[in-house]
């Protein structure tokens, strides 16, 4: 076993780190305060190749391994999870689903534009009444000649207002997961509208939307995969997506640890740096061990995925552990900072707010535990 990074992996990480330090970190606090991110960031994410990482070169991507991918996600998460979410969703959930399940025509039509950042993708699975239970979604698709008419509502959709392509999951058959089909929907189609979701605890700069579909006409050639196979497409995307959320959680934890270390070494109380007090060192040590352990779990999942072995349970474990670590470490970071952690002059409060959603989306911690429990016991608690 060799846990050292290859030259390529280091180069990818260094490039991502340098770009994040220059482009994201100086702006993250202001974007968070105003709930508005500079939209040019999308063009830059495309130009840097981040939106095409792991994709085939002939479709405009940059082939790289999954370790490189999670290193990218960690660096983006270290800078700002609002930026990381753009890539996770557009690349990880939407573009990769098209590459895996799309027809040649669909790949040629959408993937190069998504990989270059010309357009973003959004992933329309969650609905107001269906979060952890996507198999019960109620958005409907009704056949109309060579087309489908989609009607329904989606909620908490990252990139939803900015997207040039929406991957929408809709019911074409009976109840349950087997009645769901995936569609590639152009948001400019009549009947499609999006509304921003404001007032979020964290990821305040990230575009989050509510989507409304009112008899949106979608040609059958834009159906992704077979009828009734949409749930499988969504679950496959989310299994890989969990690695990226987990990696970004590691990044957030690392950022919180780095900020705490800097502060603890500079902040003097009782005539010496607070880093010299045992109780502060204990917090820093716990934060460091937690972060390292989470990172190793992410790397294991990525390594399994890269080698084509079953990685889904490892990804669930990594997502569950790393997201809880991000919350715990960011919370401790505020404790290390004392009162300064409670104001937005320091970044740690934002880290905690941003980390909080990581235990919720792409499967809550409780859902991850049920996936892991099902694997351990052979008993499906979802039934």
């Amino acid at each position: 076993m060799d846990l050292s990074l290859t030259d390529d992996q280091q180069a990818f990480r260094d490039t991502a780190r340098g770009w994040v330090e220059k482009t994201v970190v100086p702006n993250a606090a202001e974007w968070d305060r105003t709930e508005v991110m500079d939209r040019d960031i999308v063009r830059q994410l495309g130009e840097m190749g981040f939106l095409g990482a792991t994709l085939p070169e002939e479709l405009g991507g940059t082939p790289c391994d999954y370790i490189s991918y999670v290193l990218l996600m960690e660096e983006l998460g270290r800078g700002d999870n609002s930026v990381r979410g753009i890539v996770s969703v557009s690349l990880g959930l939407v573009t990769k689903s098209i590459v895996s399940h799309g027809t040649d025509e669909q790949k040629q039509q959408w993937v190069p534009r998504l990989a270059s950042g010309e357009i973003l993708g959004c992933f329309g699975l969650t609905e107001p009444g269906n979060g952890s239970d996507p198999g019960g979604l109620t958005t409907k698709a009704v056949r109309d000649g060579d087309d489908w008419l989609l009607s329904g509502q989606k909620l908490f959709i990252t990139n939803g207002n900015w997207a040039g392509l929406a991957l929408i999951f809709a019911r074409t058959g009976g109840p349950g997961p087997r009645g769901i089909t995936a569609f590639l929907v152009d948001p400019s189609t009549p009947g499609f509208s999006a509304r921003p979701v404001h007032g979020k605890l964290g990821l305040r700069a990230q575009d989050t939307a509510e989507l409304f579909l009112d008899d949106v006409r979608v040609p059958d050639r834009q159906r992704l995969g077979d009828e009734g196979k949409g749930f499988g497409i969504a679950m496959a995307a989310l299994a890989k997506g969990r690695m990226s959320v987990a990696a970004s959680a590691v990044g957030t934890a690392q950022a919180a640890l780095d900020a705490s270390l800097r502060f603890a070494l500079e902040r003097n109380q009782f005539g010496k740096p607070i880093a010299s007090y045992q109780l502060v060192q204990e917090m820093l040590s716990d934060m460091s061990v937690d972060t390292d352990a989470a990172r190793l779990m992410v790397w294991r999942a990525a390594d399994l995925c890269e080698r084509g072995e079953p990685f889904e349970i490892a990804a669930s474990k990594a997502k569950y552990y790393a997201s809880e670590v991000a919350v715990r470490v960011a919370n401790n970071a505020i404790q290390v900072h004392g009162g300064y952690g409670f104001i937005d002059e320091y970044p740690v409060g934002k880290y905690l707010r941003d980390a909080r959603v990581l235990t919720l989306y792409e499967g809550t911690s409780q859902i991850q535990k049920l996936i892991i429990g099902r694997d351990l016991t052979g008993i499906n608690a979802f039934n």
Binding site: T15, M48, F50, G52, A53
Partner: protein, 258 residues
């Protein structure tokens, strides 16, 4: 518009460096990275090629152990190819040997209009190599460039001085040294990193260049001792008695800040 850029690959400054206790030379066994001060020259060269509507950037470098990590970074930024001179006999080279080697390597770069280099390296600081290369190649030398424009066969340089800058023109080809911070070096894109793996790096030895009398054995300079930098002196505290602002202005003037 073809530009040759001299780049140095150095030990990562973020990792504390070590000196050989006998020779006082910096240990260079591990992975080397592109010297930050050379990233400006690479960026400048890429911008000049873009402004000229074409051409390519060739890197020349001298480094031990066939080391290419730093070169790959510059290739990932957009340089087209590299010439690396790597030879055990070059360990302990002085600045003149380095210049001789680089000058010979530049002659291998094909037709070029301009040679760029940093004013000095981050680990050596001799500040001598670019001018020596110009002399060896019989080319004009312009130093401390903060901006470069090419018009026809002439290079127009704003040359940084303590008081501001001089405007200097020179016929091409010429050797120009570039000050740090004058352009914003681009980050290599993921595509650039992958493309760099397939770009040619021509690795040569001293005998390939037909050179002799270079390297450690021929060094005309010797490092006799290395001492720690003196500890920082305490600052001067001035009590403001209504004239503090004047004292600040006076101080800044002595530092040539204003």
């Amino acid at each position: 518009m073809n530009v040759v850029v001299c780049v140095k690959q150095i030990p990562d400054p973020a990792i504390p460096g070590q000196l050989d206790p006998q020779t006082h030379f910096m240990k260079r066994e591990g992975k080397l990275i592109l010297d930050d001060s050379d990233a400006y020259g690479v960026e400048m060269a890429l911008q000049l090629c873009t402004a000229a509507g074409g051409g390519e950037v060739t890197l020349v470098s001298m480094a031990p152990n066939n080391e290419t990590s730093g070169l790959r970074t510059a290739l990932a930024m957009g340089a087209a190819k590299a010439i690396l001179v790597s030879d055990d006999s070059l360990a302990g080279s002085d600045a003149l040997s380095t210049a001789k080697v680089l000058a010979k390597a530049i002659e291998r770069a094909g037709e070029y209009d301009l040679v760029l280099a940093a004013t000095e390296s981050t680990d050596g600081y001799t500040g001598f190599v670019p001018e020596a290369i110009a002399a060896l190649l019989g080319l004009p030398s312009v130093t401390f460039a903060k901006s470069i424009n090419i018009e026809g066969g002439t290079v127009h340089v704003q040359r940084q001085t303590e008081a501001g800058y001089d405007e200097v023109t020179s016929p091409l080809p010429a050797v120009v040294s570039v000050t740090a911070g004058v352009v914003e070096p681009r980050y290599p894109s993921f595509k650039g990193i992958m493309a760099a793996k397939n770009k040619p790096v021509d690795t040569l030895t001293v005998s390939d260049l037909g050179l002799s009398g270079v390297g450690g054995a021929a060094a005309g300079q010797e490092i006799t001792a290395v001492d720690p930098a003196p500890a920082r002196q305490a600052g001067e505290i001035v009590t403001d008695e209504g004239e503090g602002h004047l004292k600040i202005v006076q101080f800044l003037e002595t530092q040539k800040v204003i």
